[in-house]
């Protein structure tokens, strides 16, 4: 049986030499966390199942910096590496794969041009394409929206792009299904309502997407403790839980989190 995965996420600001890992709160305030490959190396040693790098600056001139971050990381980190932020063509994806990346994460560029998903999947396989969705609850119900029941009332989920700065009007659940039919092999699902809040994952959102798609769903946004991971694994079919701050700022070590989960019956790799 496949293990549930624990994935530290490195939000990389590549606007400084060599890049640095930062963490935003509710997609805004920024806190400095460390050097990308050093943090990746530490998480690998601690037992991370995979590592996600997101270029939050996502500008063309900084892509080379990300490539060198991945190259440096893959010299000593031997778990899958997923890389995202501003990748909008197969050529750009190829640079990441050639640097040692295993998966490409796409968000804004796929919302603007959904065929990008098929183009990367056709060349590198579905498993190499992760669709990232930044979803926000909307309690104003509209016709044609996929409605989810929550403790706060029924809502639908709207996709955001440009790092949470703009909204698309696109229904996140419908988009998830469409992206999978285009070839996305995995969904990285971030709740904008929970991201940075430390309130735990958005369970109704995660459950709704995991039930609708046959590919693995990575729950993201709001994780502040192993309890939150336990909750998302017990209440949904999420294949993985992603977290940033709780690992970056020394509150929790990946190994301790996994031990905690294993002791409570979750199938994780120790």
């Amino acid at each position: 049986m496949l293990a549930r995965r624990i994935i530290p996420c490195l939000d990389c600001d590549l606007g400084v030499p060599g890049g640095r890992v930062v963490k935003g709160i509710e997609f805004k305030q920024i806190r400095y966390a460390g050097v990308p490959w050093e943090l990746a190396g530490k998480y690998y040693e601690d037992g991370a199942d995979e590592i996600v790098f997101l270029d939050i600056t996502a500008s063309h001139e900084r892509r080379e910096t990300m490539t060198s971050v991945i190259k440096k990381t893959s010299l000593s980190v031997f778990v899958p590496l997923a890389v995202g932020g501003g990748i909008s063509s197969v050529d750009q994806a190829r640079e990441v794969f050639n640097a040692g990346g295993d998966k490409i994460t796409v968000n804004t560029s796929a919302l603007k041009r959904p065929e990008l998903i098929s183009e990367i999947a056709d060349r590198y396989g579905n498993q190499a394409v992760v669709l990232a969705i930044d979803a926000k609850r909307r309690y104003t119900l509209e016709e044609g929206r996929q409605i989810v029941q929550t403790e706060e009332g029924p809502c639908w989920f709207e996709c955001s792009f440009y790092g949470g700065r703009q909204f698309t009007g696109i229904d996140a659940l419908a988009w998830a299904s469409r992206a999978v039919s285009l070839g996305a092999g995995e969904i990285l699902l971030t709740s904008m309502d929970r991201d940075g809040t430390y309130d735990g994952f958005d369970i109704p959102l995660t459950d709704a997407v995991a039930k609708r798609v046959k590919v693995p769903v990575i729950a993201s946004g709001g994780c502040a403790s192993p309890d939150h991971m336990l909750e998302v694994f017990q209440k949904t079919d999420a294949s993985a839980a992603l977290a940033a701050s709780i690992f970056h700022f020394g509150e929790w070590n990946v190994r301790d989190v996994k031990t905690y989960l294993k002791e409570r019956g979750v199938n994780v790799r120790i």
């Binding site: 995965r5 794969f97 040692g100 590919v215």
Partner: protein
């Protein structure tokens, strides 16, 4: 002397190169069959479909077979394991190397395909290449098909994904894994270390 990684044009070899380098294997990437001569060990990686892999690999076939028969330690990874079989449901009509009798079949309906993630091994045969590996240790898999050998005694380990899935085979000087040791953390590195050691006997 070196461990050569066969580069037959199917995907990047950065990860396996780095992992072998990390465990002291002195890897070299080789693009021509002549490059296999004089090696200490040969690694056959593989991504993509069975048929296109065999197409690209065919020019290495004679050289690989000769080295296999001469006892050179060999390691196949992922599709590099599948091509050892005679044929695959993925690419009807394509002929595999056939060093292991049997065929490559699709994972059963009802399970997540591809199987992508970490899964535990059941060790069927305690071969040297699995030295330091215990039942239940987890490795990273990404695949939709798996090899089904006629002679089950070549199976070194299985994993479970809907059915028992061949995870590693061992035949004489040949060892091959369906999972990716180069992406499987310290346990994966241990298998690569075992391979490097086997080239120095």
């Amino acid at each position: 002397m070196a461990i050569v990684i066969v580069d037959y044009g199917m995907g990047n070899l950065f990860s396996i190169y780095n992992a072998l380098d990390y465990v002291g294997g002195n890897p070299q990437i080789v693009r021509d069959p002549e490059g296999l001569d004089g090696a200490d060990g040969i690694v056959v990686p593989g991504v993509g479909a069975f048929g296109s892999c065999m197409n690209q690999l065919s020019r290495f076939e004679d050289s690989l077979l000769r080295h296999f028969q001469e006892g050179m330690p060999m390691l196949g990874i992922c599709v590099g394991m599948q091509v050892l079989f005679e044929e695959s449901e993925e690419s009807p009509g394509a002929v595999g190397l056939g060093w292991i009798g049997g065929k490559v079949v699709r994972l059963p309906d009802g399970v997540m395909i591809p199987q992508m993630g970490w899964n535990g091994l059941s060790i069927r045969r305690p071969v040297e290449m699995l030295d330091g590996i215990s039942d239940g240790d987890m490795f990273y898999f990404v695949h939709s098909y798996y090899g089904l050998p006629r002679d089950e005694s070549v199976i070194a380990a299985t994993t479970h994904h809907g059915v028992d899935v061949t995870a590693a085979v061992c035949k004489d000087n040949l060892f091959a894994t369906q999972f990716h040791p180069e992406k499987s953390g310290p346990k994966g590195l241990r298998i690569l270390e075992n391979f490097v050691r086997s080239t120095r006997c």
